[in-house]
């Protein structure tokens, strides 16, 4: 075939499907709810299994024991992790592969200073902080997301050179979450009956779902394109759009679910809370917009 072929290749589709199957088997809904109830975000055994499957070493050269793939493959894999609501500092550990011993193999858990301010995620579960000489001391803080434990540290470091790639992979997680809440909303709208018909037959519900799809599809192309070009402005756009697709998608899903969405038992709130966390990581909306504005003016002269 000639020409720009933006669509995933067969191999890429297979990779994505493989990760989806792996996660469905190893971290399905029951495992998710069990970790929520136990309050344990990082399951070391699962982490090592992910490492064994090449999750963290995806981009390392084959010569170094890696899989030898690139950012485009990485975003497809992280999209699936976002869909499954897989917890833990996935992005930081991925970026640490080849840098922090054990990260590539999943024997080490690495977090990052990816939040502005004194909060650090997964600190108590981590063996290292990306780019930091040692693990800082921190006071535990109750987190809005039951699977993202937080600590407050005295002198947080910076995400530094990892910021772009961290933002891109986090955008991929958001994309997966947005696609998942869309699936949940559509399935609920087809099943739930009120006033004698499935609620998905009402335009108000249809149009909420259509809006979710539009945001998710625009975010998807932004994420995939940014992975292909690695351009900083495209990554900022991908983060901005994927954050919105995930946050607003979860809220719209909650609206479609109605009262059921307000319960702890529904997964909707877990998507929303994680989406809130990710929106604050690596690059916030305000930072992305300012970066894009600077690029816009610069691009023009």
């Amino acid at each position: 075939m000639s020409g720009v072929d933006f669509q995933p290749t067969g191999e890429q589709r297979d990779l994505r499907a493989g990760v989806r199957d792996l996660l469905a088997g190893r971290y399905g809904r029951e495992a998710l709810r069990a970790s929520v109830e136990a309050g344990v975000a990082v399951d070391r055994r699962l982490w090592r299994e992910l490492g064994g499957a090449g999750f963290f070493a995806l981009r390392l050269p084959e010569a170094d024991g890696g899989v030898g793939l690139g950012l485009p493959e990485a975003v497809l894999v992280f999209e699936e992790a976002g869909r499954a609501l897989l917890p833990g500092p996935l992005v930081a550990t991925f970026l640490a592969a080849g840098v922090v011993p054990g990260a590539a193999a999943g024997t080490a858990v690495v977090t990052a200073f990816d939040l502005d301010g004194p909060l650090v995620a997964h600190l108590a579960e981590a063996d290292a902080v990306l780019g930091a000489p040692a693990l800082p001391e921190g006071e535990p803080v109750r987190s809005v997301d039951p699977l993202t434990p937080l600590h407050r540290v005295a002198r947080p470091g910076r995400a530094g050179p990892y910021r772009d790639e961290g933002a891109l992979l986090t955008a991929a997680l958001q994309l997966g979450s947005a696609l998942r809440t869309l699936e949940l909303a559509v399935a609920h709208a087809r099943r739930r009956e009120q006033f004698g018909q499935p609620i998905g037959a009402f335009q108000a519900v249809k149009h909420l779902c259509a809006g979710m799809l539009v945001r998710a599809e625009v975010a998807r192309t932004a994420v995939y394109a940014a992975a292909l070009t690695g351009d900083g402005a495209e990554i900022a756009a991908a983060k901005l759009l994927a954050d919105e697709a995930a946050v607003q998608g979860a809220r719209d899903c909650l609206q479609v679910y109605g009262g059921m969405g307000f319960t702890w038992e529904a997964d909707v709130h877990l998507h929303l809370k994680r989406a809130w966390v990710r929106a604050e990581q690596w690059r916030t909306a305000a930072q992305a917009e300012e970066l894009l504005a600077a690029d816009l003016l610069g691009a023009d002269g």
């Binding site: 075939m1 000639s2 020409g3 720009v4 072929d5 933006f6 669509q7 995933p8 290749t9 890429q12 485009p72 869309l182 559509v186 709208a189 087809r190 004698g196 018909q197 499935p198 998905g200 037959a201 009402f202 335009q203 519900v205 249809k206 149009h207 779902c209 259509a210 809006g211 799809l213 539009v214 599809e217 625009v218 975010a219 192309t221 932004a222 995939y224 394109a225 992975a227 292909l228 402005a233 495209e234 900022a236 756009a237 991908a238 901005l240 759009l241 305000a286 992305a288 917009e289 300012e290 970066l291 894009l292 504005a293 600077a294 690029d295 816009l296 003016l297 691009a299 023009d300 002269g301």
Partner: protein, 384 residues
């Protein structure tokens, strides 16, 4: 996934760029918007140049006189012509992008031979007679009647939103030939000569103050049966088939134009000092991200249609929903850049802002598009 162009495509782009650089300075001055004959002549001249350079009907099949280009080549063509500031397709729009492809796909050999070459050469212009005052979003409820009388259909009714009706030679017309059939089943596609007796064209003034469209009134207009494309009562299918020619490229030029406008807006804001307002600056930054993503979505849709061999995905509705919204946001941002200056029509952006108001309405309102997306893509049930 790949966003790099093949060597062949890069060469195609380079040749096109070179040709545009040579050709555009030689163009005559653009006629004023109200000078319809002048606009026709200008658009015809440009089409002739394209024809002579081998760019006419780029995306048409070879056996219809086209160049059989890939969707990506078509995308490159639209991108480069827009970037270079080349003339729009203008009065050739319906012929090149709708009626022509319909005839190419569904017409007889004689019909193709009669109608297609003049379109490619810029000799004949077409307009479209689909919408009616009472059939807007519900296009298939159209009521313009055609009754068979010997070798003619006798057509009466009225059409609306017909661009270039004043200067077109032909009108691709949808008429109802079987009033008793379900609404999608009794429609027929006809090529109506615009000089036939009984046709009255009345310019339709839009809220932008211009007469970009017309109403067309038909009073017992005789259209030869041989001008029918496809079978009688099969016109709805005939028309829908044509959409498969679109291949995701419909908005390429517009997205390129929007991105250029945004860059100009940023520069204007920098010059008038409003760039220092973070509210505006961040709005422009966000639009830069959104329009960039819409450009990528265009490439995505084009490569999808390339894979599927030209069958359109439902990506068109998704794209149109996002794009029409972003375009309106763009001109709202322009108004913010201009401040009270947004009230003066001497600023080109103000007229463009008015035009952008039609984007959530024309060619399927956003409400209709959301229904399409919800039912056809997401599989949600139709209401009672």
């Amino acid at each position: 996934m790949d966003l790099t162009y093949t060597d062949e495509e890069q060469e195609f782009r380079a040749r096109l760029r070179e040709w545009l650089a040579k050709e555009l300075p030689a163009l005559p001055p653009r006629p004023s918007p109200d000078d319809w004959p002048g606009r026709r002549a200008y658009d015809a001249g440009w089409q002739r140049r394209l024809y002579e350079a081998g760019y006419a009907g780029l995306h048409w099949p070879l056996d219809a006189g086209g160049r059989g280009a890939t969707p990506t080549q078509h995308l490159i063509f639209l991108e480069e012509t827009e970037r270079a500031g080349a003339p729009y397709v203008g009065a050739n729009f319906v012929g090149l992008l709708h009626a022509g492809p319909t005839i190419a796909a569904e017409g007889t050999a004689a019909q193709r031979a009669r109608w297609l070459p003049p379109v490619l050469r810029g000799d004949e212009m077409w307009c479209q007679g689909f919408s009616e005052p009472d059939a807007g979003s519900d296009l298939a409820s159209l009521r313009t009647r055609a009754v068979r009388d010997g070798d003619d259909y006798v057509v009466s009714g009225s059409k609306i939103w017909t661009s270039h009706a004043e200067v077109a030679d032909w009108c691709e017309l949808l008429v109802r030939t079987d009033p008793g059939a379900p609404k999608h089943r009794g429609i027929t596609w006809l090529a109506m000569p615009m000089d036939a007796p009984g046709i009255t064209v009345r310019p339709l003034r839009t809220l932008a103050g211009s007469a970009e469209f017309a109403e067309v009134f038909l009073d017992e207009v005789r259209v030869p049966v041989e001008n029918r494309v496809g079978a009688e009562n099969d016109g709805w299918r005939v028309t829908m088939v044509t959409l498969s020619f679109e291949r995701g490229t419909a908005f390429v030029g517009e997205v390129v134009a929007c991105r250029r406008t945004l860059a100009l807006l940023a520069r204007a804001a920098k010059e008038n000092g409003r760039w220092d307002d973070p509210v505006l600056r961040r709005t422009l930054g966000r639009l830069h991200g959104e329009l960039g993503a819409l450009w990528r979505l265009t490439q995505w849709n084009v490569s999808e249609s390339q894979r599927s061999g030209g069958v359109p995905g439902t990506g068109g509705s998704v794209f149109k929903l996002a794009y029409s919204h972003a375009r309106q946001e763009l001109y709202d941002a322009a108004a913010q850049v201009l401040g009270a200056g947004s009230l003066a029509l001497d600023e080109e952006w103000v007229l463009d802002r008015l035009s952008s108001l039609s984007y959530t309405i024309a060619a399927g309102t956003s409400q209709i598009q959301r229904n399409i997306v919800a039912e056809r893509v997401l599989g949600l049930p139709k209401g009672r």
